[in-house]
């Protein structure tokens, strides 16, 4: 088991630091997946939950409103290494934190030539305090509410090797303090107690970067995400497998520059997320979470996600009750 653990961890790190030399514009949906990843399920007091995951967001679909253009010579790939931690202080109070390392690549293939720009750096972080409604477990119900800041740890003024400042979409950090709000609800199905229906809502209220390109004000648009999903636990051989199917609705409002709405930003997306988790041990789960857009309508013209995939290793430590599910799979 220890060997498998090392292999997975090493692979996740290598994927971000040394990305595949794939073929490699900008939009509001290509950023680092912070708000969508914060928040563990509740665990008993004294439980430390950890997850290290690799997230690949592949954008190669040029859209005008809901229409896709036949134009695939632009690609943008955001790869993130996410370290998520959560500690349950009491039965009803927990703190989660999320740290990121971000590798972004923009590639244009034109006239059989290819130009790429890549940035690598620590991304922003999120810390969230959660309230877990007590006394609901007996009914198979879990409700949590949380809120916290997104802390601008990542650089937002990286330059290329000529000293030219790259635009906001290629920066690992946003240089703004944002507020994340989070709500979670789940309920075991009476007919099949191993199955759980869950709903999650995440709001992100963004602050302003007052040093964008030196002197400008830039504010990424606020976002609202709603997840609805159902998951189960199956015993296959001697392994517990956790399949799940979720849908994600994401609404991003337009970015603003110097308080004026920026064209070609914002939009609505609906993605389907067929995920699966494998119990490696009683306290460790490997999650594989692909995400495929099934509907999107962007404002103006934008490069939109073609697909997304996340692979993560979850573990829980400590004396508290161990959760066998996490929000990826639900």
């Amino acid at each position: 088991m220890g060997k498998l653990f090392h292999i997975i961890i090493t692979a996740l790190i290598c994927l971000v630091i040394f990305p595949a030399a794939g073929s490699a514009q900008t939009c509001c949906s290509g950023g680092v997946p912070l708000s969508g990843n914060i928040g563990f399920l509740g665990a008993g007091p004294g439980t430390l939950q950890l997850e290290l995951s690799y997230d690949l967001n592949y954008l190669a679909t040029l859209k005008n409103g809901s229409e896709s253009y036949d134009d695939e010579y632009r690609k943008r790939i955001t790869q993130s290494l996410l370290l998520k931690t959560g500690y349950s202080i009491t039965r009803w109070l927990a703190v989660d934190a999320l740290f990121s390392l971000v590798n972004q690549r923009r590639t244009i293939s034109f006239n059989e030539q290819s130009n790429s720009v890549r940035t690598l750096g620590a991304g922003d972080a999120v810390i969230m305090v959660k309230y877990i409604f007590p006394g609901l477990n007996a009914g198979g119900v879990e409700i949590q509410l949380g809120a916290g800041p997104k802390i601008p740890l990542g650089p937002s003024d990286l330059t290329d090797d000529r000293g030219i400042t790259l635009n906001a979409d290629l920066q690992p950090g946003s240089n703004s303090w944002d507020l994340i709000t989070w709500g979670y609800f789940s309920r075991q199905l009476k007919a099949r107690p191993s199955s759980v229906f869950s709903a999650r809502i995440v709001g992100r209220f963004n602050g302003t970067n007052r040093e964008y390109l030196g002197s400008q004000n830039y504010r990424f648009g606020n976002t609202l995400q709603v997840y609805l999903g159902i998951g189960d636990q199956l015993l296959i051989g001697n392994r517990i497998i956790i399949p799940s199917l979720s849908f994600r609705y994401r609404h991003a409002w337009a970015d603003k520059i110097n308080d004026l709405q920026l064209d070609n930003t914002g939009g609505r997306w609906i993605n389907i997320i067929p995920a699966v988790g494998w119990h490696i041990s009683q306290s460790m789960i490997f999650n594989l979470v692909p995400e495929i857009p099934i509907y999107s309508k962007v404002e103006g013209i934008q490069l939109a996600p073609t697909f997304r995939i996340q692979a993560g290793l979850y573990m829980s430590l400590g004396t508290g009750k161990k959760n066998q599910l996490n929000q990826y799979t639900l």
């Binding site: 036949d70 244009i108 720009v117 750096g121 620590a122 650089p155 330059t159 090797d161 000293g163 110097n258």
Partner: protein, 362 residues
């Protein structure tokens, strides 16, 4: 847990590791090398990545042209950049250039790059033959003072559209030879040249040319996407003006200064006699050196309702068209030298030429 801490310790230094990359005008080919020592003639800290990346906005090369009856993506008030050589009359609409910014074309024996920056509203014709070599220009994805930086595909040097010179690379300091274009509305252009052809919307790229991709940018004065070096509130930022650039200075003629008739302005600028002709209602301004090349100083009067003829000289009664060509009279066939001049948004000229003066302000 210990393993995770070790990994974190390895990652942090790497995480902060930064990033890695992968009618023609006179020509002055004086080469000036970077005074800043960083390989750029302009302050590199004022050069910004526009977002789409190099060639992320795809320039067109020798696109198809069609007759006006066969398309529907323009309305009368849409702006075009017009070019005439011999019997060939071509219109390059903003509606196409908003999406491609550069059109590399060959008309008769002229290798022209029609360069247009949607953010500064500047359209300038460039000669693609540089030091005897014909090149094509692409969109570098970089901006200086919010203005297009084309790159030449032959040498891979970066150029400034509004400075009209090479600002980085092997050709640094080389000035581009400009080619006269007339910017006006589609309606006026057709009135001037009914035989015109126009760039086909079948460019090979899937784009909605009937849609302006920058939203309210053209009309919102405070809406600038990138920092500019010098802000000047003497005119509204997005007011369209005509600029005559001489050396590193500019003289500004607001379109609004021209009335509803063809108007001629003659001035001496930095020792040069310049004639500026325009019509505010018909939405064009263009300018030439008044000397036809033999030392004669001509004085001009406007001509109404005879497009493309826009002026007549008092001395010899030649009729001159909007491209500064004598089309009748004793000098028929003579070409006035095109002043290094073009239309654009006011803010952009204030940024590039901070000591500029405005016609009518004195």
């Amino acid at each position: 847990m210990r393993q995770i801490i070790i990994i974190g310790a390895i990652l942090l230094p790497l995480a902060f590791g930064g990033c890695e990359m992968d009618s023609r005008e006179f020509s002055d080919l004086t080469v000036t090398k970077s005074p800043l020592g960083d390989g750029w003639l302009i302050p590199v800290q004022e050069v910004f990545d526009g977002g789409p990346g190099k060639d992320g906005i795809p320039a067109l090369t020798e696109p198809k042209f069609i007759v006006p009856a066969s398309f529907d993506y323009l309305v009368d008030e849409d702006l075009v950049l017009g070019f005439v050589v011999g019997d060939e009359v071509r219109a390059y609409p903003h509606a196409i250039l908003d999406w491609h910014e550069i059109i590399n074309d060959k008309v008769e024996d002229v290798n022209i790059a029609v360069t247009y920056c949607p953010l500064t509203g500047t359209g300038i014709g460039w000669n693609r033959e540089i030091n005897g070599t014909v090149t094509t220009f692409g969109v570098s994805g970089l901006l200086y003072n919010s203005n297009l930086i084309p790159y030449d595909r032959e040498i891979d040097s970066n150029w400034s559209q509004m400075r009209m010179d090479c600002v980085e690379g092997e050709l640094q300091g080389t000035k581009i030879e400009t080619i006269a274009l007339v910017e006006t509305t589609w309606k006026t252009w057709q009135a001037m040249y009914p035989s015109t052809t126009i760039v086909s919307p079948k460019t090979g790229y899937d784009r909605d040319y009937g849609r302006y991709p920058y939203g309210g940018y053209k009309i919102l004065d405070d809406y600038l996407l990138f920092p500019v070096a010098n802000e000047d509130d003497r005119l509204p930022n997005k007011e369209r003006v005509h600029a005559v650039v001489l050396s590193s200075n500019a003289r500004i003629y607001p379109l609004s200064a021209f009335g509803e008739q063809v108007t001629v302005i003659q001035e001496k600028l930095r020792g040069n006699d310049i004639v500026v002709v325009g019509n505010g209602a018909d939405n064009f301004v263009t300018s030439y050196f008044s000397d036809p090349g033999d030392g004669t100083l001509l004085t001009f009067a406007p001509v109404q309702d005879q497009y493309p003829v826009v002026m007549m000289d008092h001395e010899e009664c030649n009729n001159w068209d909007v491209f500064g060509r004598a089309v009748s009279g004793p000098r028929k066939g003579t070409q006035l030298r095109h002043a290094r001049s073009f239309m654009g948004y006011w803010f952009s000229f204030a940024a590039f030429y901070p000591s500029l003066t405005i016609y009518g302000e004195e």
